[in-house]
């Protein structure tokens, strides 16, 4: 398994690099806790004025927030740093150093950068999901749990594919860092179940930017909202996204000319 070996190598390098900035860990942990507190306070303010939000009860919205944290933690830990690095390399022409290595280029650009402190968000997110399940009253069934795990895995794959496609655009447009900014603000919408948005926005968040499949579906799966059909669609979209990302990457790569190298 070359991918696993490469991942392990770059993870080690990433950890060693970040250990030089240990103060960032405390700031990051503090920031994550504060941002979780803001999210919880937001929910508290909402539920001080309403009992349910578009049919979602408080503990279900808590699960949405938890899944949101887990997914955004994974994205910012592993996917986003790699994509940012890639954009910079395309602009500066330093992608040459990746292409000349004897490994698959997409695998290499996907694993070579990470920000370990961001894992704090994943840990907090898991804790929030656990708390949401514990306070829901009912016990978590085997189907709900399996549906949750499957849809969460599919969510990560979908977002990875989606971000690779966005980043690959930099072969044409050179300066696309801000595309990640759009993604982030679109993704912010995932803090709330997509059901609350008006139809046009819901369609955007389902098909254009896969927020619905990334957050709402896994969180809903915990309270039995995911039918087998939804689950199948979620997995299918993940597969399509990853395959499409790889194809698109290979097309984009042909345009790369190492401009300023």
């Amino acid at each position: 398994m070359t991918i696993v070996r490469l991942l392990a190598v770059y993870l080690r390098v990433g950890i060693l690099t970040e250990l030089q900035y240990r103060a960032n860990f405390y700031v990051q942990a503090f920031r994550s806790v504060l941002s979780l507190a803001t999210g919880l306070a937001g929910l508290a303010v909402v539920f001080s004025h309403a009992t349910t939000l578009a049919g979602w009860r408080p503990h279900e919205l808590l699960a949405v927030l938890g899944v949101y944290l887990v997914i955004s933690g994974v994205v910012r830990f592993a996917i986003q740093p790699a994509m940012e690095r890639l954009m910079e390399d395309v602009r500066e022409g330093t992608l040459d150093y990746v292409l000349t290595k004897p490994e698959d280029s997409l695998v290499l650009v996907s694993v070579r950068a990470n920000a370990i402190w961001r894992l704090v968000d994943v840990v907090l997110g898991v804790a929030v999901v656990g708390y949401a399940v514990a306070t829901s009253g009912g016990s978590l069934g085997a189907y709900e749990f399996a549906a949750f795990v499957v849809s969460l895995g599919a969510a990560v794959a979908t977002i990875y594919g989606f971000l690779v496609i966005l980043t690959t655009l930099s072969f044409w447009f050179t300066r696309v860092e801000n595309i990640l900014v759009i993604f982030q603000s679109m993704y912010e919408a995932g803090k709330w179940p997509v059901d609350i948005y008006p139809a046009w926005l819901r369609a955007t968040l389902t098909f254009l930017v896969p927020v619905a499949f990334a957050v709402t579906v896994p969180a809903g799966a915990l309270s039995g909202r995911a039918t087998p059909l939804t689950l199948a669609a979620t997995v299918a979209i993940a597969v399509v996204m990853v395959v499409a990302a790889r194809r698109f990457w290979l097309v984009g790569l042909r345009r790369y000319s190492g401009a300023s190298a």
Binding site: N24, H49, V176, V181, E188
Partner: protein
Amino acid sequence: MIDWISIYRAQFAVTFGAQLQYRASLAIWLLGLVLAPVISLVVWTTVAASGGGQAGGFSQGEFAAYFLALLVANHLTFTWVAWDFEFRVRNGSLSGQLLRPVDPIHANIADNVTYKVITLLAVVPATAVLAWAFEPAADTSWLNLVLFLPVVALAATLRFLVEYSLAMAAFWTTRVFAINDLYYVPLFFFSGQLVPLALLPDWVRAVGNLLPFRWMLSFPVEVAIGRVAPSEVPIGVACQLAWIGAFLVVRSMAWRHGVRRYSAVGA
């Protein structure tokens, strides 16, 4: 005597050209800016709808008006100086600017103003489309709308100075991303981006009144939608001016001490 007019004219020409180079990223950045208030708008109109048409004294139309005004005010007041400054300290490109006889802050001001002017051409129609989609309604007056202009200008000045002061931390820590993130949490909360400050519990509002965040964003929004009467505006303006004064001092002290520590890390 420094000729500020020609300095700024030159700066504007440079930044104008630079900004127009990247029209696509301007459009993208704008989309991001529009989306965040739309999310809050939807959440709160949903809450108001389930609460019989209103929540915390805001009707659905008023929530729409509030968050659309917030969108415009946030656009006019936001800055990216912290990222920009950290980048220049880290890769050493600040060195070149230090050789010039003008404080680099003026380049940032020109950059910021140019960007706002260019993007306003898109923010205004975007807001109009959203207004058509979400039907805002507010009990406001022409005087309130006129007062919005000087108040939002002061808010933008204050936010710029606060974020510029914060950016100075780059001189000491080199990497300030984490500090920035830390700053955005209370900003989001106390500047009314999460929810109108009127909907927060009293004790939270009391804490917020001791901080500068309300005056950086929420206050002009409250003025625009008529939640602050024209007769109450001078008190708010006085608070804005006081904070601006304080941060002018902080910024220049941080700059003077920080620049001595600057060692052009990556140059």
